[in-house]
């Protein structure tokens, strides 16, 4: 197959059919199609509506605490002895991660569409917490589907969701992780399509979800770009973010895609290594297929059956990835690299010790890659890492890995 010609801009997708090249699309049951078309129409109206923008802006500022800081990580920079490392502090947002950006946008869409009930899927529980939060704030009943394995390893977030008034439904199918939670959320949606809004947490699923989630998350990159220009007077040399479904990554990357001198690196969960099946590196070790409404890189066997991946990080434990990332991979604009569980764990501990910041295990994957490349870079070079969430939720997992009891 010939490589497609380099586009003039990497920021124009998706096309009218919801495709990024061969990726994306609307692979859903007919029951959902009318609703998805309605969502697309509402989204198209909302994104150019000044009132919608103003309401979202107001909530982002006063409720979520935006803009998030771009912080010069001096301790880590000194420790690594190379390029300057900056953290985009999404961990400081209300609810403790970037997920609130998307949830605020989508709850306003749900309101415009007159929906009465919110459902969501969650892996690490960050999106579940953010969904439960906006549902509480706007007075909607909320059901969160969460894999049973994840319910066990992310218990603090499960309790937070319950406090916020959401019902957490554990899903025992498969390995009981994000993929299975998404299946169950889709089954709920198809059953309750009339009154229910499906608040998808990542930049994946049927069109227009990958686009609208990206647009709500692009505030990360838009701010970071302006902040680095102000703080350093120039663009960064490298930006790095972890990729599960890829919403924090596409949010950081998208505003930089046409800055051709900025190297962009997405980090996949390498789990226990890419030789076996215990990883979630769909773009490094999978192939294109169709799942959950879109075509994208997937971990699958020769018969097209989807494999259960593995990652220490529940938020990266998904055998697919958002379709725009698949397209950015194939077009060569973004480089995707795996980071192992152990490397992420080391980054988690180091960041905690030298920066006094406990990063989410997801974000620790991105930091781990910075630890590899920063020492080899010049001191006047700049690297921005997306610190997508805080790691309080992960202390049990980390204690387990380190053989400690808490």
């Amino acid at each position: 197959m010939n490589k497609p010609a380099m586009p003039n801009s990497f920021r124009t997708g998706p096309d009218e059919q919801g495709m990024f090249g061969i990726f994306g699309g609307r692979f859903v049951a007919e029951t959902l199609m009318p609703l998805i078309l309605d969502l697309e129409e509402q989204w198209n109206k909302a994104k150019t509506d000044p009132e919608f923008k103003a309401e979202l802006q107001n909530l982002s500022t006063h409720y979520a605490g935006r803009p998030s800081k771009l912080y010069f990580a001096e301790g880590l920079t000194k420790h690594l002895g190379g390029a300057k490392v900056y953290f985009k502090r999404e961990d400081l947002n209300h609810t403790g991660s970037h997920k609130i950006n998307n949830c605020l946008g989508q709850i306003l869409l749900a309101k415009r569409m007159g929906k009465k009930r919110i459902i969501a899927e969650t892996g690490a529980g960050q999106h579940g917490v953010a969904s439960a939060t906006v549902a509480a704030r706007f007075g909607y009943p909320c059901v969160v589907y969460m894999g049973a394995t994840d319910v066990a390893r992310q218990s603090p977030n499960v309790f937070r969701m319950k406090l916020l008034g959401a019902e957490v439904r554990p899903v025992t199918a498969g390995h009981g992780t994000l993929k299975d939670a998404m299946n169950e959320a889709l089954r709920d949606w198809v059953t309750n399509v009339e009154d229910t809004y499906y608040l998808i947490g990542t930049a994946a699923g049927p069109h227009p979800y990958p686009e609208l989630v990206r647009d709500f998350q692009s505030v990360i990159g838009t701010e970071a770009r302006a902040q680095i220009l102000e703080q350093e007077g120039r663009l960064p040399d490298v930006i790095i973010a972890a990729v599960g479904g890829g919403s924090n990554a596409i949010g950081l990357f998208h505003p930089f895609l046409d800055d051709k001198d900025v190297r962009i690196i997405g980090i996949e969960a390498g789990g226990r290594g890419l030789d076996g099946i215990e990883h979630c590196a769909s773009m490094n070790a999978g192939k294109p297929g169709v799942l959950h409404g879109n075509r994208t890189y997937l971990l699958q066997d020769a018969d097209g059956q989807i494999l259960d991946g593995h990652s220490i990080s529940a938020g990266l434990d998904y055998p697919g990835v958002g379709p725009e990332h698949s397209w950015l991979r194939d077009s060569g604009r973004v480089q995707y690299e795996p980071i192992l569980d152990d490397e992420a764990l080391e980054a988690f501990q180091l960041t905690t010790r030298v920066e006094g910041i406990i990063p989410a295990l997801e974000s620790a994957h991105a930091i781990a890659h910075a630890m590899k490349i920063v020492p080899k870079m010049d001191k006047d070079q700049i690297v921005i890492v997306n610190l997508s969430g805080r790691g309080d939720k992960d202390v049990h997992t980390v204690a387990n890995m380190l053989g400690m009891e808490i």
């Binding site: 609307r26 692979f27 049951a29 399509v193 297929g289 097209g304 494999l307």
Partner: protein, 280 residues
Amino acid sequence: MMTTRIDRRMAKLKAEGRPALVTYFMGGDPDYDTALAIMKALPGAGSDVIELGMPFSDPMADGPAIQAAGLRALKGGQTLAKTLKLASEFRAGDDETPIVLMGYYNPIYIYGVDRFLADAKASGIDGLIVVDLPPEMDEELCIPALKAGVNFIRLATPTTDDKRLPKVLENTSGFVYYVSMTGITGSALADTAKVSAAVRRIKGHTALPVCVGFGVKTAEQARVIGASADGVVVGTAIVNAIANVLGPKGEKTADPAEAVATLVSGLAQGVRSARLAAAE
């Protein structure tokens, strides 16, 4: 497009003045040989059209019974290639009963669309129902299938309104599958009066037969639905009949083919009395 076994079978039943009994079961559940025995028993028990399930790891539109059937089949080593082989072995002994493959797109996409259509045709497959390919994605498989002479049977649902129906019907052939409710397979049957009204609504847009599925489990339900529909689809009840004769470790406590045949015979009686009831 040339007429298929589906067209011929539906025309024949129309002439007989009764609806079709369309039976779904999962290819390879609980293993290949048993599934072949089940399939061979279906026409004799009164099945008019066979829907052969292609197992998929992530069946988003299916309830617990069909999810479990798919997992049993995959655990038993079923693949898309083996499901095609199942059809072709059946076809060697029955050249009349239409076979419709039903499932999800990814295994077909990975098999390769052109290769799949050629092999499906050679295996005696007459139609396809692919849950996650709405008309918006027709270029993927629907159009190539029609060119290859394989019916592409579309699902219409309660959310498919009059504005959207023409788009759904545009490239549909064989029959239209009306999903009786917004929901997953195996849920409780919707209000039958509403279902009949929906069937009439669809018939106002197409000359194709309309078969109704999702929620039909008993002979009585088959009779009531069959009074207005051109066909009644039963799936979960059949899959459950298989599950019911499997022990906790998957061992057979009775003959699955016999259990399915008994159930299907009862459903066939329901379907055959449908128009009598309607005429009363």
